[in-house]
Symmetry: C2
Subunit: 227 residues, 2 copies
DNA sequence: GTAGCCAAGGTGACAACGTCATCTGAAACC
DNA sequence: GGTTTCAGATGACGTTGTCACCTTGGCTAC
């Protein structure tokens, strides 16, 4: 039955269409495996199998495993960017409600897709030993060829940051945006990652993520007013 | 020359001593490889080679690769715990100086040993999908047999937290310690991890880690006073 | 319409890895 | 002195990422 349906639906597909659907299936399979068991569980053989192709096929669409995972991470950043964009442009929300929502959205990704979340905050080539100028250098290095996985990922993360900083600017003013934006983002990420690593919610550190976010936003609001 | 020295020093070593020195060499080799290239670069074959044994030998001292890495992480937590202990008991420092020092020490580990740092904040069995009650559950599960790698790691992290929270308590009072302690630790970890992942120090988020720590401590100090 | 092109995908192979079963030799113990 | 025990060596197995090579079927130029 599945086969006959497949045959009927396979009638008249152009080559580009077929390649696009395979690429999409590879990305979906990789994202699913990532959610299930982390980067280690994403094997090109299993990805290929779930996408209905063999182990070598992914190399037609991605340079290798890293490249595939980077593409999955890029789509993760794009989704979060969309979420924050929706918050920022929602006329029914106050500035601090938008901020709280953005931070909670980030932490929510951590809770719903822990493995994906942890990959959001890994250097594209995952080489933390060379700190240098951070993503700016990566951006300059890779800005040229659009479609490059690492560059796409940096761009997607940058868009998220722009949306987020626009919300922060409305709260603490243009002049303090970069500083308090960095502090808020670091704080939210720290809260999310502490929860993921199991350090939160213990006997010693018993606060919930929501409580921590509320305190953080309140403190920044107070500090932003006085300056 | 090295060989003759070795021979001279190798005279009359008991079996337990030899085993201990091998275990030590394995840990050192694993830590070194971790610093150089991350967990992927820690192969049992290379660890064994650097420790002067073959690939199978590590299994005499550790259950497997995970167990070995967990032991390395445990020693990392112990070192940080010692650092914070030294800060806490230093009579020449004020409470806020101690706090700032502790946060900077944590971030310093991130800068000096990025790969080790990132493993400090990974679940012992690295299974972030089951959030549950966090480390408390792991602690209860594994509290029995001392010497168990995961239990040791949880204990070492717990000691660090105790030292840290003692500093926080002196600043915001006993009643707020858990909440603000969690916030400060999350904040510092977020700052460190954002720097490692290259998200800090970009055009959009240009603050330094020291600036962020200062603001964070100042805000918590203000909030702690008012309550 | 037909010949050639080209890219998606299949297949075999390779090295590296974690892990285990088995063997060996020497220290430890009675 | 014989036995036990355990650190370490060795061979083997399954899995993985990756590459070179091959096949096949749409696409394009004439």
């Amino acid at each position: 039955m599945t086969l006959s349906t497949e045959c009927m639906m396979a009638v008249m597909v152009t080559r580009a269409e077929s390649a696009a659907v395979t690429r999409r299936a590879l990305l979906d399979a990789a994202a699913e495996l990532l959610d299930l068991g982390g980067p280690e569980a994403v094997t090109l053989r299993e990805v290929g199998a779930r996408a209905g192709v063999t182990r070598g096929a992914p190399y037609r669409h991605f340079a290798g495993k890293d490249s595939l995972l980077t593409a999955v991470v890029t789509e993760g950043w794009e989704r979060i960017g969309d979420q924050v964009h929706a918050l920022r442009t929602d006329p029914a929300l106050s500035a601090s409600e938008k901020l709280r929502g953005a931070l909670r959205a980030l932490i929510g990704v951590g809770r719903d897709q822990p493995h994906l979340y942890q990959m959001l905050f890994r250097r594209p080539g995952h080489r933390p030993e060379e700190l240098g100028e951070g993503l700016d250098r990566v951006r300059r290095q890779l800005c040229g060829p659009a479609g490059d996985p690492a560059a796409d990922r940096v761009r997607a993360a940058g868009r998220f940051q722009d949306e987020f900083l626009a919300i922060v600017a409305a709260l603490v003013g243009e002049r303090n945006t970069r500083h308090y934006g960095a502090l808020l983002l670091s704080g939210a990420h720290g809260i999310a990652d502490m929860e993921l690593s199991g350090h939160l919610g213990t006997d010693r550190l018993r606060s919930t993520t929501d409580e921590l976010v509320d305190t953080l936003v309140r403190m920044v609001g107070d500090a932003g007013e006085t300056t």
